[in-house]
């Protein structure tokens, strides 16, 4: 959903692997969304809300900018 230029890129897959090969389901349970939503975020098909973005950053102990970032060519504000 949303325009492709506005979607966020991310390093979720790498972050999951770096945190004990955490599964999508485990991450989904910890941030309070479904596994399908984690999959959609990882595939750059869905941009999460700020609230979920904060939860993702907290789970991995990184800043939001480290976990999610504007894609090249997308508007960064």
């Amino acid at each position: 959903m949303g325009k492709s230029g506005g979607r966020l890129g991310n390093d979720l897959r790498a972050l999951r692997l770096a945190h004990g090969a955490m599964s999508q389901q485990e991450l989904a349970d910890r941030i309070g969304v479904t596994r399908q939503t984690v999959n959609a975020i990882e595939g750059n098909k869905y941009s999460p809300s700020l609230e979920v973005a904060f939860r993702i950053a907290r789970v991995f102990g990184v800043t939001i900018e480290r976990a999610l970032r504007p894609r090249r060519g997308g508007s960064s504000g």
């Binding site: 959903m1 309070g32 969304v33 479904t34 596994r35 399908q36 939503t37 999959n39 959609a40 595939g43 098909k45 869905y46 999460p48 809300s49 609230e51 979920v52």
Partner: protein
Amino acid sequence: MNLSFREKSLWIQATGLVVAFGLYFWQVRDVPGPDVGPGLVGLFIAVVVLLVLFQVVGHAVAAMADRRTEPDERDRRISLVGDRMGGLVLGCAVFASLCVALAIPGNFAFTHVLLAGWVAAELAGIATQIVLQRRGA
């Protein structure tokens, strides 16, 4: 194809609507007279009961086969987009049924165009949600 509970639920809703109202419209296709009679009201009630039963049993089976999850923010957003699409179709159907009410005497044609429009609106909303769920939205 690996479907989430929400996708299964949408497919159950769509199938129920198609089967129940497919049967209904098949039964009423040759009904004579310009107005809705008591027999049709009985048929309509039977179809609604069939639809409800189908949905209850279908969702119970889906819940047994899959872990049911509460809708999250993406599900809610997809649902809103589906509702918007359904609303557009329903608006067109209401307009069409008003035109039919002005053009054709009796309430049979009017009510059935309106009913068909409601079914089409529900299906459009569900189809939109299925596509968005599959695409990742």
